[in-house]
């Protein structure tokens, strides 16, 4: 049945506004009633829906995570936050200046260390719970290595007054993407700090000169840079990934979304999300001779969800 192999394969998102609206309303209701404790279940329901409505090569993705798993992680995160802010508050109330200073210092050090911990945990969890045609994703990065890389790059970024940030982001991407597995498909990120730095510099200057208008084109350049530097590899064959997102389209999307939200006081959010996901998914293409039937399960079972909520709490955005 699948003899003809097109050169390009596209992602499609076919979620529907009204369905998503129902999910949002149920989530919203239960989250309020439970004073926020339904959050992990709400998130699981949403992820399930979005994964199942994202298609690649005729099959959709599946999210296997459950609210119960994520609830355990959620509790851990709340614990960490209570301890962190509790000690900060206690130190401040003690009125002891040197103690307060020490605690603040520890607070920030712990916070910096928490970020890579959270990224690691989230990637492990999220990847292990994502599958396509029964084949699970996996993240094989090493936590200690990631922490070292993270701390080193944070320090360099501080010393260079933020200039190193471009290299920082690329180092992170290289490490993370290089450690993602999808069955027997491996990934590689080929971006580098210098290119990324100039791209950002140019983008910011032009955005400033154009009174912000260039921002949309700048965003798409960043998206394209990210996507097109990812290479998948299956049995020695390269599968480059391409982006066709245009600044003008992104501009139109953003403007319409903005008005949709403002005029409905945010109630149109599910439709906005559908539009946004459709836009991004339909603009990602995989090039080359991908064989969707020959992936082999390579990952083992993984059980720990604490990283995922940590990433949420720290407001980190991982795609």
């Amino acid at each position: 049945m699948e003899q003809t192999q097109p050169e390009f394969r596209q992602f499609t998102y076919y979620g529907k506004g009204p369905e998503l609206f129902k999910i949002y309303i149920i989530n919203w209701l239960l989250t309020i009633v439970t004073l926020g404790f339904y959050y992990p279940w709400a998130k699981a329901a949403l992820l399930k829906y979005n994964y199942q409505h994202t298609q690649f090569d005729g099959s959709n993705f599946t999210f296997h995570g459950t609210g119960k798993e994520m609830f355990k992680g959620f509790l851990k995160v709340i614990g960490v936050i209570v301890v962190l802010y509790g000690s900060l508050l206690a130190a401040q109330l003690s009125g002891n200046a040197s103690l307060t200073l020490t605690v603040i210092l520890i607070f920030y050090i712990v916070l910096i260390l928490l970020v890579p911990f959270a990224i690691h945990g989230s990637l492990r969890y999220r990847a292990s719970r994502s599958s396509w045609r029964g084949i699970h994703f996996g993240y094989r990065g090493d936590r200690t290595t990631l922490v070292k890389l993270f701390v080193k790059d944070v320090l360099l970024t501080i010393i260079t007054f933020g200039i190193y940030n471009s290299w920082f982001i690329n180092d992170l991407r290289t490490y993370i993407i290089g450690n993602i597995r999808f069955g027997n498909i491996t990934f590689e990120y080929t971006g580098n700090g210098a290119d990324f730095f100039w791209l950002n510099l140019k983008g910011r200057i032009l955005t400033g000169l154009s009174f912000g208008f260039y921002f949309f084109w700048y965003s798409m350049e960043l998206f394209e840079y990210y996507i097109e530097n990812i290479y998948a590899q299956q049995d020695g064959k390269h599968l480059p990934i391409r982006s066709t997102a245009k600044g003008g389209d992104f501009f139109a999307l953003t403007i319409v979304n903005f008005f949709l939200l403002v005029f409905t006081l945010g109630l149109a959010f599910p439709w906005v999300q559908v539009r946004t996901l459709q836009f991004f998914m339909s603009n990602i293409w995989v090039q080359g001779e991908f064989d969707g039937n020959s992936l082999v399960q390579t990952e083992e079972e993984y059980k720990d969800a604490s990283g995922d909520d940590m990433v949420d709490m720290l407001d980190l955005d991982l795609l």
């Binding site: 049945m1 699948e2 076919y14 009204p18 369905e19 609206f21 129902k22 949002y24 309303i25 149920i26 989530n27 919203w28 209701l29 989250t31 309020i32 004073l35 926020g36 959050y39 709400a42 399930k48 199942q52 409505h53 099959s59 959709n60 599946t62 296997h64 396509w132 045609r133 029964g134 084949i135 699970h136 069955g183 903005f258 939200l261 403002v262 006081l265 945010g266 109630l267 959010f269 906005v272 969707g292 039937n293 020959s294 992936l295 082999v296 399960q297 083992e300 079972e301």
Partner: protein, 375 residues
Amino acid sequence: MNTFEIKYFDGKTSAIQYGTVKLAYGHWDIRLNHPDGTMSSIHWQLKDIKQTEFVGNTNIFKYGDFPQQTLECTDSDFVKALQKEYPNYEFFKKEYVWALNKGLEVFIGITVVLLALCFGIYKYILPTVAEGLALTVPQEYEIKWGDMMFENMIQAPQKEDLSESLNLTKNDTLSKLANQFAKEMDFKTTYPIKITVVDEKVVNAFALPGGNIVVFNGLLQKMKNKEEFAALLGHEVAHVTHKHSLKNIFRSLSGYLFISLITNDLNGVTAVILENANQLQNLGYSRELEAEADASSMKTLKTNQIATKGLYNLFKILEDGNHGEIPEILSSHPLTDERKKFAKKNQILNEKPIEKARLESVWGEIIAYNSKNKK
């Protein structure tokens, strides 16, 4: 008719396998057609088939432990057959089946009811609860917090060069006189009232929780009679006695928490809109508190038998001189027409206030000090 076309994934490779499923007693009988023409069969025990959801018109079922097997069926009769064959077995989460079968109108209805409910809670229940909570704060804590805030704002008069930014410089003589003045009045309060006059040209005054009242000398200099000062003190003490700062803080905090809770899962735009609405709401609230303090001040003037026209005159002074840059977080006093109307309506015409020699003499000293130091 219990046989359906399916797609099957074995969890070991991503290969699509085509075949059929037959609903048998206690298990599903899956037959797969291999590309080489051979066939094989698998049994799925009913108890290990995982609950699942529909995706469009595709029904997806997972089976067993990691790595799970997957079965996809697009036949719309499949779900009906399942219900007929295994009436006691729940393949789909009930709430999801229920939810997805309801029309969009139902959800719009739920949304409207929810929004109305949230609004009702926000508008009527939350403020009462917040004020109730504010009232449970023990007086000694309130006094302690007020003193802490006070110490951060007020500075002793010596280092004048450093004091220009945020800190206010205390005027010792005037503060002492103002406190003597206040002692001669009965405010009917259980709080220790402490008045501090600061050397600023601003025409204003404010009250901190717990009893500290700060009066800017700019306002004092504009006053002509003791009843104006008495009206001002009556108003500020009322803010203290009725715990207005505390109520304000509790109210805006609870409003903020409530909004964060209901927008928890929504988006930034909604949150921003609602938070601004909350601030507007609190502005309206502070008008309410001002009215309460005015009424209280009027009462204080009457019980102390001080001329009630003081309040109206005070408003005129504030109106003329109010170009002050008072920090907005402190209880500032939005001067409105209603407030002036209130003062005018409630003042007693042709009254004969009792002469209070002690009050008059302290006021005289304040006037004398200010005219001597005026350049």
